[in-house]
């Protein structure tokens, strides 16, 4: 299909703008645009067709089952889209006087209260823009907390099952990374942890349940190891969908938690974002939270900037407000029954696991939480079929593949998260497909090797993409890559999470 710039014709346009009979001031010559940007030039009918075609070449949760592990691809209720587009939210300027933004401030305050209850921690900042920014904010809080106590701590411990964001955030916050391994049951290796942790340890970052979909059975002991040396525990909330109302991070011993509003609380992911990464913390960390906080003031609400120990601001204004509206609406639709959301997420995952565990290797044979990790190691060993091949073949059945090659400690990993919104029939159909694929791996391996068969493109050449690095349209000078030889070099590297 053509790029929008290849559909362009000079002098075509979709826009109409007010005609105003006023003189236009001259821009000083040295500041004036010398060459117009080559934006697309299309009529509105062409514009709509172009983006409609792009939509048909995209698979969303609206299209079908999307069991991408660690991404919590649940249904996005349409009522959330209706309410976020109410003019009182959509057309509200962030610098509007507080007395004229009371509805927005109240919504934010209510969401703070809800998240505090779910986390089991009293103080919330809604500001971080996504989970990874929540992580960085949490680590900045650790720095500020220890600096305030006159302590120099330089190390942060991260599990080897962690999302890559954890180690990346550790470095960006100016800390030194220490890795802890996973034991044979899929829990954090507590013996190794004891050796690593000392008075120089600022804290731990942990996902619980882990990216293996397993709840750490020693979580209380882990928390004690850190708290004994005055360290702090950070909860990566990527997998919170498993435990809402079942076990609260604050009760597990965590001091700082981030939420992924775009996972647990159903923000449509839009092909990559937006997200929301609010954090909840224990009392002793509250003074360091970003400004402003939303606080009640009599019958009203206001923005409180008066926090002398704050780390500052981590993004503009107050956070991704539209995401708050959707997540608030989502949680209010459940009310106290939010626990059922997590229960069904875990039920769906365990059901699917039960259907699949005889056909694929299960590295840690336990009940799972909201997701589970299988391995296609046996298929690779016996038939030369990889997790990537399994993923591609699933597309032929109309399913989005699971996350593959993650977590890194499981070879040929297939990380499957069905979420609570899927009906049993979909889980059955997906399991049937997975079982058939496992059989075809032996009998018709080419079906897998050559998959997918009916998508807009077949397997792509990632090496060419990286080497040629064509990252924008070049107009007259745009290269024709189809003239260069290509191979199916879509590689066995992490896809998802």
């Amino acid at each position: 299909m053509k790029l929008i710039y290849e559909r362009s014709q000079p002098e075509r346009r979709a826009s109409t703008l007010p005609r105003i009979d006023l003189p236009v001031p001259q821009v000083p010559e040295e500041l004036r645009r010398s060459r117009p940007p080559r934006l697309a030039e299309l009529s509105e009918p062409e514009l709509v067709r172009h983006f409609s075609e792009l939509a048909t070449r995209t698979f969303g949760i609206d299209t079908g089952f999307y069991p991408l592990g660690s991404c919590t691809m649940k249904h996005n209720p349409r009522v959330n889209e209706r309410v976020v587009n109410l003019p009182g939210f959509r057309d509200l300027h962030p610098l509007q006087e507080e007395e004229a933004a009371q509805g927005a401030l109240e919504l934010m305050w209510r969401l703070q209260e809800i998240l505090a209850e779910i986390a089991g921690l009293p103080a919330v900042s809604l500001q971080p823009a996504a989970g990874s920014q929540g992580e960085l904010t949490g680590l900045m809080l650790m720095r500020a907390y220890f600096a305030d106590r006159g302590e120099q701590r330089r190390k942060v411990v991260v599990a080897d099952t962690a999302h890559g964001t954890n180690p990346a955030s550790v470095t960006m916050a100016g800390y030194e990374l220490q890795k802890v391994a996973t034991d044979v049951r899929g829990n954090v290796d507590v013996a190794q942890l004891r050796e690593l942790v000392d008075g120089e340890t600022a804290g731990l970052m942990l996902t619980n349940p882990s990216t293996l979909g397993l709840f750490d059975e020693h979580i209380e002991e882990i928390a004690a190891i850190f708290h004994e040396v005055g360290g702090l525990l950070y909860y990566d909330g990527a997998n919170l969908n498993a435990v809402c109302g079942i076990s609260r991070p604050g009760d597990m011993g965590f001091d700082i938690v981030h939420f992924n509003l775009h996972k647990t609380f159903s923000q449509p992911h839009g092909g990559g974002g937006p997200g929301g990464g609010p954090i909840a913390v224990r009392e002793r960390l509250e003074p360091f939270l970003p400004v402003p906080a939303v606080v009640p003031d009599g019958d009203a609400f206001r923005l409180d900037y008066d926090r002398p120990k704050t780390i500052g601001k981590v993004r503009g204004f107050y956070g991704p407000f539209g995401v708050f509206v959707r997540s608030y609406a989502y949680i209010r639709s459940y009310g106290p029954a939010l626990r059922e959301m997590s229960e069904v997420a875990v039920l769906n995952a365990n059901y699917l696991l039960a259907l699949l565990k005889n056909a694929y290797e299960l590295p840690f044979d336990r009940l799972c939480m909201h997701e589970f990790v299988l391995s296609a190691r046996h298929l690779k060993r016996e038939q030369g079929i990889t997790a990537l091949d399994v993923a591609k073949r699933l597309m032929d059945y109309g399913f989005h593949p699971p996350t593959i090659y993650f977590p890194l400690i499981v070879r040929e990993a297939l990380m499957i998260e069905p979420t609570e919104t899927e009906p049993k029939e979909t889980l059955d159909a997906f399991a049937d497909a997975m079982l058939e694929i496992a059989r075809d791996a032996a009998e018709h391996p080419d079906l897998l090797k050559e998959a997918p068969h009916n998508r807009p493109v077949r397997r792509v050449d990632e090496v060419k993409a990286a080497k040629r690095a064509v990252v924008r349209y070049g107009f007259e000078e745009h290269p024709d890559l189809s003239e260069e030889p290509s191979e199916a070099r879509e590689l066995e590297a992490q896809k998802g999470a």
Partner: protein, 440 residues
């Protein structure tokens, strides 16, 4: 619950397949000591009609720009969002897709990101853009992280005329990066290139904003040259809506161009979610943060798009990644692409000219002393109202007009100054109303 799809019968069958008696049993790995024993204290569930009514009530307590004639800007702008943006964003496939990890499932969104990257490169005169950053403030912190690694230097220079939101965020991030932040004060509303150049000696980068926070046009080419001569990366923070009439940062030698995308395609939304953009010369492509889409071919030689140069990113490079960003703002950036494609080059220029013409009319019509009378401006300008700014705001709002932003909130000393913003949605008649409201 309407979002769940299991019947009681389903549940029983599924539990039997798993081989457990109850859902509770599925949680047996959760230690007793950390189990939550009561019900969550949340307000009762709302049905869909009740939920909508509740949120309508909250929304009604906000005074949005449809209910009050607004001249607020200061970084978030009431530009017109075309209907076609809403239509595209309502497409379920685009709305509800995850990050395009599997290219065969995601050619549409990958191509859209490639087209967005192209639009940002064209606007800014740069070679490479990522798929978006969180907002116009965090991309400035991203730029500092790029500059730190490219130059090995440990100071960043920030013009005082850069948006306070941006400056605060840079100052929050800087200590973790091991960077010290140096401010360059404004001289009469703009930045002096000699002062910026002096401060940029031994600095990793120098960030300035065009048009700046006061609405004034900076001597941007001279600022970029001063930073470059000092061996620092020159970083321009620009308004995409201005780039039909104002020069592209790439054309005056900037290393990086960043900005808040909101004005192109996004509603004000009380400050977010929006998108930040970051674009660079090709020299810095390997230091860029976040997702980048590249062109390639499939096995049959068909053109295809895929996430590329991923060894920069956290999932591969982990603690050495160029950034920790994962989730970005693709949907909002898509809105930007649709808006910019709706405008086209001609529309973007007309939009800029319309804003400038209306702002010039407003300057004249208000007949108030300008805070920086010597400086050329784009769509915003600062006036002195001869009394504390919040008094003027209160009085004007009583007449249904929000006259602008009180600069003293960020610049102590500018007690009587108001930053007025005029977009293409305001009319000369609206501006007459503003003049009357401020004269009251």
């Amino acid at each position: 619950m309407s979002f769940l799809s299991l019947t009681e019968r389903d549940r029983e069958q599924m539990l039997a397949t798993i081989g457990v008696e109850s859902v509770d049993e599925l949680f047996r790995d959760v230690p007793e000591g950390v189990r939550f024993r009561r019900e969550l204290e949340l307000e009762a569930a709302l049905s869909e009609p009740e939920l909508v009514a509740h949120l309508e009530q909250l929304a009604a307590r906000n005074v949005d720009t449809g209910r009050e004639l607004s001249f607020l800007g200061a970084g978030i702008y009431d530009h017109y969002v075309p209907a076609v943006v809403d239509a595209v964003l309502a497409r379920g496939e685009l709305l509800t897709a995850y990050t395009p990890y599997q290219p065969e499932m995601s050619q549409g969104v990958l191509q859209a990101i490639f087209e967005y990257q192209t639009a940002i490169c064209e606007l800014t005169g740069m070679d490479v853009s990522n798929a978006s950053g969180y907002d116009g403030a965090t991309v400035a912190a991203d730029a500092c992280y790029v500059a730190k690694h490219v130059t090995g230097r440990s100071r960043v220079v920030l013009a005082e005329t850069v948006s306070p939101q941006v400056r605060q965020v840079v100052k929050t991030y800087a200590p973790g990066f091991g960077l010290e932040v140096v401010d360059v004060p404004h001289r009469n509303g703009v930045t002096d290139p000699d002062e910026l150049g002096e401060a940029a000696r031994d600095a990793a980068c120098a960030i300035f904003q065009q048009p700046n926070f006061f609405g004034c046009l900076e001597p941007a080419p001279d600022l970029a040259a001063a930073a470059n001569e000092a061996g620092a990366l020159s970083v321009a923070h620009v308004d995409p809506v201005s780039l039909g009439v104002l020069e592209a940062p790439g054309a005056y030698g900037c290393a990086l161009a960043i900005g808040e995308g909101q004005g192109a395609g996004n509603y004000q939304a009380y400050g977010g979610p929006h998108y930040g953009f970051i674009a660079a010369r090709s020299d810095y492509v390997r230091r860029m943060p976040g997702r980048i889409v590249g062109e390639t071919t499939d096995v049959d030689g068909r053109r295809a798009y895929v996430l590329t140069l991923q060894t920069r990113e956290q999932h591969i490079r982990r603690e050495k990644a160029t950034s920790n960003i994962t989730t970005n703002q693709t949907l909002l950036a898509l809105a930007g692409l649709v808006h910019l494609s709706w405008l086209g080059p001609q529309g973007l220029r007309e939009l800029g000219e319309t804003c400038m013409a209306l702002a010039a009319y407003a300057k004249e019509r208000l007949a108030l002393p300008l805070l920086f009378p010597e400086q050329a401006t784009f769509k915003e300008f600062a006036v002195r109202v001869g009394r504390p700014a919040e008094e003027a705001i209160r009085a004007a709002r009583a007449r249904g007009v929000h006259p602008g932003y009180a600069l003293k909130r960020d610049y102590p000393g500018m007690e009587d100054s108001l930053l007025v913003c005029v977009t293409e949605k305001r009319t000369p008649a609206d501006i007459d109303r503003l003049a009357e409201a401020l004269a009251a």
